[in-house]
């Protein structure tokens, strides 16, 4: 179905990593033909999808906003990693300098939020993945692999209760539970390091992952994929539980294959209770 014309022209801002390519593949499959602003060195990869690509070598917001308006873009999707050095460059344009000057807190999170507010003032909606790619968002229930064991479900429930207390605290997104004890908690080291540590300590257990209260579903949603399952398998973990509606699955087909092959259950659970 072609919905672009009805809903307004779509642009994808593609940072680094595989996520923008997977998003683009899914967008094209759903009938969307976005203009892609590529903030990544390998922008030629993107042309293979038959869409227009605008390589962005330095982030000049005056130019980018002008281009969005000129092309009558009405909807914007953000995906992938953008290096902080690019944003805090000394050669920042007047638009960025103005935004930075208006910030109370000079961190990446506040800056990106302010840039998005500015984009929306141009009459462009910044989309959540759930609104445009609902199939990529974790649903509730079994997602891939075997049914979880009853003892894994006990650990998942325990992990959900603990994670519900952590997610409002602005750090980390995941933890590993084994026999109703918290083995490892993620802060800045990332999920893979956390899983690896749990492998060294318990060599068994479940991984529970959710979205922090300070994350924005439109540009900062937690992601899981086959890499997550590979780490879990190396560490002896048997079940991945993700918050339904709040976690993006990189490539459902590959994830299903890996989950079955590795014998890891992947399930979506209701949002972690925060109290």
């Amino acid at each position: 179905m072609r919905t672009s014309s009805k809903k307004g022209k779509l642009a994808l801002v593609a940072g680094e990593g595989d996520l923008p390519l997977v998003i683009l593949k899914n967008l094209v499959a759903s009938g969307e033909t976005p203009v892609v602003y590529a903030i990544r060195p390998d922008w030629q990869d993107i042309e293979a999808y038959g869409v227009s690509v605008i390589p962005v070598k330095e982030i000049n917001l005056v130019k980018i906003f002008g281009s969005l308006v000129f092309r009558r873009i009405k909807r914007l999707l953000l995906a992938g990693y953008v290096s902080k050095t690019v944003i805090y460059d000394d050669s920042a344009d007047s638009e960025i300098k103005g935004i930075v000057a208006g910030l109370d807190d000079r961190n990446d999170h506040a800056l990106l939020g302010a840039v998005i507010d500015r984009v929306e003032k141009l009459g462009i909606s910044v989309l959540g993945y759930d609104s445009i790619l609902p199939d990529m968002i974790a649903p509730e229930g079994r997602i891939a692999g075997p049914e979880p064991s009853s003892s894994d479900l006990v650990d998942v429930d325990y992990g959900r209760a603990v994670l519900g207390r952590l997610l409002p605290l602005s750090f980390g997104q995941s933890l590993v539970v084994c026999r109703r004890s918290v083995v490892a908690v993620e802060a800045m080291e990332g999920t893979d390091e956390t899983v690896k540590r749990a492998g060294d300590i318990s060599g068994a257990g479940v991984l529970v992952k959710g979205m922090r209260a300070d994350q924005d579903r439109r540009y900062d949603i937690p992601v899981v994929g086959t890499k997550t399952l590979d780490s879990m398998s190396e560490s002896g973990l048997s079940c991945l539980a993700v918050e339904a509606g709040n976690v993006l699955i990189m490539d459902r087909e590959k994830l299903s294959e890996a989950a079955s092959r590795l014998g890891i259950s992947v399930i979506g659970v209701a949002s972690c209770p925060s109290s």
Copy 2:
């Protein structure tokens, strides 16, 4: 001052590690001459302190309780690590089997709590370190090293607020904060590993350590010492903040020397607010 006779005979149950030796040194210095039950291979070290030593090779509670009563012990202090394998041995005596049978939850924590309840039923008080060795417990205010910087104090306050939310959750005891962001959170890996990870990620920041809600000040109090400061120094951390009243300092004199030499501030802070 000799207070033993007035307060009743004291026994020290000495597990493995340096802590029992430091405790014993402090006890002797304060005029106490405890009987030592040594659940550790190197019990000969203990005789150097001029106290009676009873080497315990297998934990037979019937025998130990009998000995405590026979010696008219009235006060008991527990220190050091006791291997779980010793306790859950198949050769457990009838007293242990009875205690284990009465447990709802068969974990080390519940077992030790039940053993202590049993000891107290014999008319023996299990002491907290604060009651018998108040000088070893972290006070509020500056403890060692230089005055903390104002930015470190901001990070300590932030860490206290986060730790106050974590300590009721039955995992970990410490976290590292750098520029009002949580860098690393301790679960089962222990404080040293957590500090090491923070070194790899931020290479700067403060360590905040407190006592979990499920810890018992009488036998499971958090400990800091020069080893903590050495890890912090290697990781570039500049301030150690411990919960006043809830953390034991291994050797105050050595800690002071190390803190000054390494330029690390050690401070005691009021209990972390739990909400």
